[in-house]
Symmetry: C2
Subunit: 201 residues, 2 copies
DNA sequence: ACTGTTTTTGAGCGTTCACTCAAGTTATCA
DNA sequence: TGATAACTTGAGTGAACGCTCAAAAACAGT
């Protein structure tokens, strides 16, 4: 009865995510978005409603992608702590200069810092994502404690927050003009810090 | 022979700094700046040249202020490491919800993340400031090593970068909707991490 | 008080912003 | 193949952007 859309919603969303990740919410104009998605304004607004709506979906897509990445790193290691340390090193590799990422820093953190006092809805979304990540890390660490990897007295929620702050610090630090070697060293020092929470044998 | 300026340059700069710190570069419009400084556009442009120029001076003022704060915390402690730990705790106190700061996050980091792919000049300035802080921390730690506070084998430049990443992580994390108690715990955990680098007696 | 210089003022400049919608185009199904 | 419904198009909307400048106002020195 009717015509099909010329664009794949997921592909368009991915392109939008990359642009927003690189330039931020205010830094990406609709003109640039039109060019990146190869879509005219009418199509964009018919599909995503508004710039806010598009950004919101792009941020959600980014969070989904990041979650998958963490789970992959964990799946590669039988030990939770080893997996988390591998995750830190992998972040350092991705966040090194010359990488193909739109930005070395985390899009959620960029969003949180940009939107906190200017766009409540978007800031709330960033908050929710970080809260969910904290929760996931806490559960992961609880599991590690049960398996005897972590010292029995470990306060897992607290360690999860420390770990999240480490990751935020690592990725934001990597946004500086700095050598990939120094970023790798930083990740290594953070991984070493995790060792102090291991159970003693 | 002529009229004096009605405005104190430093006071105006301070107000601009607070607005930019709160809302970011793009998030603070000239209209809002006019209102915050109680100055009309002509006066602002005569004094600071452009929005970029004003922001640049405001960022420099912020960096100066932050440097003074660190030196104060250090002066209060005879030990360098104690001073740095006190500094972490003080950051946590300032970055707690309900504080009077325009933003819990660091203005330099906010600027770095916002400007990195949109405004080269401003991003370079943020980079320089962070580089100078790293340098200052390195020298501070070298001094601590000479005084026997740090383990003799400590790689001070590397520890300085780790410390900077901690501070960036702490302050960015604090931008989340989170209790002041949890921010304080996070600072405490970071301070504890510094203890691992102390010389053993 | 007058003069000379500087500062302040604010209407308004051109541009860019996010966004709209009537008209045109195209795939689908009878 | 023609009718129909959905999608695409892009010129154009009003508002907000950073910024300018001629005129008015205010002080310092004579």
């Amino acid at each position: 009865m009717a015509r099909n859309a010329r664009y794949d919603r997921q592909i368009a969303l991915d392109k939008a995510m990359n642009l927003f990740w690189e330039r931020g919410y205010a830094g990406a104009s609709m003109k640039q978005i039109e060019q990146a998605l190869d879509m005219r304004p009418g199509s964009i607004y018919a599909t995503f409603g508004s710039k806010d709506g598009l950004f919101s979906e792009a941020l959600a897509a980014y969070a989904r992608r990041s979650g998958l990445e963490l789970r992959e790193h964990l799946a590669g290691n039988s030990s939770v702590l080893d997996g988390l340390q591998e995750h830190l090193r992998c972040i350092a590799r991705q966040a090194s200069p010359g990488g193909e990422s739109p930005s070395r820093a985390c899009m959620v953190v960029k969003t949180l810092l940009e939107a906190s006092n200017t766009n409540t809805a978007i800031a709330n979304q960033a908050n929710s994502i970080l809260s969910a990540i904290e929760q996931a890390l806490t559960e992961l660490l609880e599991q590690a404690k049960l398996q005897g990897e972590l010292a029995p007295g470990t306060h897992c929620a607290r360690l999860a927050r420390l770990l999240q702050a480490q990751i935020i610090g690592l990725r934001s630090f990597a946004q500086r003009e700095i050598s990939s070697e120094q970023v790798a060293e930083l990740a290594e020092d953070m991984a070493a810090m995790l060792d102090h929470y291991r159970a003693r044998h």
